[in-house]
Amino acid sequence: MKLSVWTYEGPPHVGAMRVVTAMRDVHFVLHAPQGDTYADLLFTMIERRAERPPVTYTTFQARDLGGDTASLFKRSALEAYERFQPKLMLVGASCTAELIQDDPAGLGLALGLPIPVVPVELSAYQRKENWGAGETLYRLVRACCSPEPVERPSGRGPTCNLLGPTALGFRHRDDVLEITRLLERLGVSINVVAPLGASPEDLARLPEADFNVMLYPEIAEPTVRWLAKAHGQPTVDAIPIGVSGTRDFVRQVAELAGTEPSLVQSILADAGRLPWYSRSVDSTYLTGKRVFVFGDATHAIAAARVATEELGFEVVGLGTYSREQARDVRKAAKALGLTALISDDHLEVEEAMEELRPELVLGTQMERHIAKRLGVPCAMISAPAHVHDYPARYSPQMGFEGANVLFDTWVHPLMMGLEEHLLGMFREDFEFVNGAAPSHLGGAPIAAPEPAAEAAPEAPAAAAPAPIIGELTWTAEATRELKKIPFFVRGRARRNTETFARERGLHPVTLETLYEAKAYFQGR
């Protein structure tokens, strides 16, 4: 038994729902009690989908348990077929139905429906949402695709499949559009995008492509592996997130597609605005910003790379809740000299964030809330997401436009911090004092002045001796001086000074200590 207040991933049947909801002409009959219908709202409220997920729940009750839940399942499946006329029916069980062992697979197949009935075993007590999505896509592909080698249509340019985007994915909708455009520039046409927007017939056509693009390994990996083995389709596994990630992706695609080198060069060179914006002098203050990264494995690894190589941040923590992909994250963390945090317990993540004191957090909606509590700016990089993370505007994470989006969304929270600092710096100025109205409004005093928000915690003014372990005390003079340091380096100055003071047993921190430490750390 595991005590949980909040989970990064839902149960595996929610993953199955993400796949079928993304598709066309598929209906999912889920053996489940009525409470499980809450999952519809994930799609209709969080993602604002205009249609109900194509899911029929059997909604068995306690009184059915002694009787015949199996015939309830059959009735539900038949009625769903008649009403929705799908071209394929997926059948499965949620956690409770798994316990009553009605065998939806056998019951579904026994219905004799004139369409394929595909069972999926969801292992609710071992697995989670992403696994459920991956397994479901794999089962559907296996059911729709011939295992025999297929003749690829001749006389056409290179084609590929885009695999992995689902409903309720983090920016999947926009990523697909961005990557489709990029592939078109490379002269590659899309054979099938799956599961997003695909029908069972489309899945059957997957083997006709020359290669597969694995956009989201959490979901697409089992399918891609099978297609490689059964149909000899090579895989593009570079994740096109960030400028370098996208360039790697372009090179991989170009090699498989045999794209004209000069065309490839021009595409590689036209990498959007991130490289220049990052070199622009106003970005200098981004250098060495301490960043904590947490999300699904794919997005976390990519974010860590963009943060270090493309924005000049320092990644101080990297982790994921995806245990299935933990190995890759461990490797990426090791390359940065870190130990990866592999955990689906948000309290552990919170602890790590408290300890590392990052200046920016790149995470999921849970990290955003933790960051808010800690007063640290945060940008979202991964599911699970909130309704706000399904923006109305075009906002991909992938491709060169995605890199532009990353620059904006990660730097923006820090810029807001800079504005606050400038306000703070001039706080002593007569026009900025509390109670002064803005000068364009005549500068007359306004009522009810509120204490200005302090960027650094107020240190006690008294210089009473205290043990060196725990909170260090700062003299009033040193505190005042610290506040004069621009906020974007203030955190580091404070940390360095305190480290320096602790190591040398200097207490309290004085003006002298502050400058001693500054000299000591300069250039180190």
Binding site: Y38, T44, A50, Q61, S76
Partner: protein
């Protein structure tokens, strides 16, 4: 408050198909805010944890007094194991949250199916953790629908109480109410000189309900709680539910009559609030009068709400669906519904959607799963979950309650795109 002379029984369409409702675990979202010294530990699956976090939205980020003990493969292997695991989880939890005086072990679909006896576990844990009373109830979706979780919780509190008895001369108001509403009712009863207490209390002390206690139900979904109170020798004061001016007046008058307070006295006490509410409702009647409304089954509040919307703001009722129709508790409500209404109990969501499209109402009251798809069809909807999270009882909230239904219509009028 007089009942319609004819005790006609409206026909009820009973349905058995796919339900599209929350399970009783959802009640934890408001119950844990209400009972401030209680913690709710769901013994269930990842689905249970996911449901509560999805229903609770951002509330989850405050330090919530609920959690899920997620059953894993190894817990399902043997029951002895599961009990030991539960002991371990509870000990850890209580060590971390020593302020918890009341712990609910909340059963779920999986725990019911594997027949985990949480009442026995609760007894054992109560004994091994002095200072914390441990009770159990089921919020499972195979037994409870949405608000029935609160019913099961309150029933467990009544049955599990072992503390000093309450005063039988106090009126007991039963059903979790937002604090602001509770305070308003408290003031009204004080002015009527009727001693009153509320179940659940903000801090539960485990008091035993004294035999002879008379109680008013503040919510229409408390079937099991009423039964438990009956077992303790308490009696229900039949009344309509305190929604709208008429319902609130009927409810207060019934309580007053039971305590020998004259209707003139009630009139004197509530007149200003009643006048205020009527005036505010006039404006709502302009917006809602003549508009057709359709209720999907959800909270069991549907019948009293339909009565209010029909009689006080002039809405036309098409279908009023409810997960469970308790005729006895609705004995003052049902006679006030128009004969033209289609009452339905239980659900077959697909057939109900067919009827909805045929009725083509101006407003649909439904759950979150259906709301946006119906909006996309060009229909106006009101999320039913808001009706259990928002203060809607009593005079001061009567117009707020109507406004919840008016807002989607007003919004639709404003939008030009």
């Amino acid at each position: 408050m007089t009942l319609a002379a004819d005790h006609r029984e409206l026909p009820v369409l009973k349905e058995r198909g796919q339900h599209e409702v929350f399970c009783g675990l959802t009640g934890i979202v408001w119950l844990h805010r209400k009972i401030q010294n209680a913690f709710f530990l769901v013994v269930g699956s990842r689905t249970c944890a996911h449901l509560i976090q999805s229903a609770a939205g951002v509330m989850i980020f405050a330090e919530p007094r609920f959690a899920t003990a997620i059953l894993e493969e190894k817990d399902l292997a043997g029951l002895a194991d599961a009990n030991e695991e539960l002991d371990r989880v509870v000990s850890r939890l209580l060590a971390r949250r020593p302020e918890i005086e009341l712990l609910f072990l909340v059963g779920s679909c999986p725990s019911e199916v594997i027949k985990l006896d949480l009442s026995k576990t609760a007894e054992r844990l109560s004994a091994s953790h002095p200072g914390t009373r441990v009770l159990s109830y089921s919020g499972s979706g195979i037994e409870t629908t949405f608000t029935q979780g609160e019913d099961a919780c309150l029933a467990a509190m009544v049955r599990g109480a072992t503390g000093a008895p309450t005063d039988a001369n106090e009126l007991c108001v039963v059903g979790a109410l937002p604090d602001v509403v509770e305070d308003q009712f408290q003031r009204v009863f004080e002015r009527l000189e009727i001693p009153v207490r509320f179940l659940p209390a903000r801090r539960d002390a485990g008091a035993t309900v004294a035999p002879g206690t008379r109680y008013l139900l503040a919510q229409p979904f408390l079937t099991e709680t009423a039964r438990a109170l009956g077992e303790r020798g308490a009696t229900r004061i039949p009344a309509p539910f305190p929604f709208g001016v008429e319902g609130t007046r009927g409810w207060l008058s019934a309580g007053a009559a039971a305590f020998g307070v004259s209707d003139e006295r009630v009139e004197a006490v509530v007149a200003p609030a009643e006048a205020r509410a009527r005036k505010a409702l006039e404006r709502m009647r302009e917006r809602l009068g003549g508009k057709k409304i359709f209720f999907f089954p959800d909270s069991q509040l549907e019948v009293p709400l339909a009565r209010f919307l029909h009689r006080e703001v002039g809405m036309e009722l098409t279908e009023v669906g409810t997960p469970y129709l308790h005729r006895e508790h609705l004995d003052h409500e049902l006679p006030m519904l128009p004969e033209s209404v289609r009452l339905s109990e239980g659900q077959d969501v697909e057939r109900q959607l067919d009827r909805l499209r045929a009725d083509d109402p101006d407003l649909v009251v439904c759950g979150l799963g259906l709301a946006n798809p119906l909006e996309a069809e060009g229909r106006r909807t009101k999320w039913s979950i808001e009706l259990v999270f928002t203060p809607v009882h009593g005079y001061e909230q009567a117009a707020d309650l109507a406004e919840l239904f008016a807002r989607p219509l007003v919004r639709a009028e404003r939008l030009a795109v």
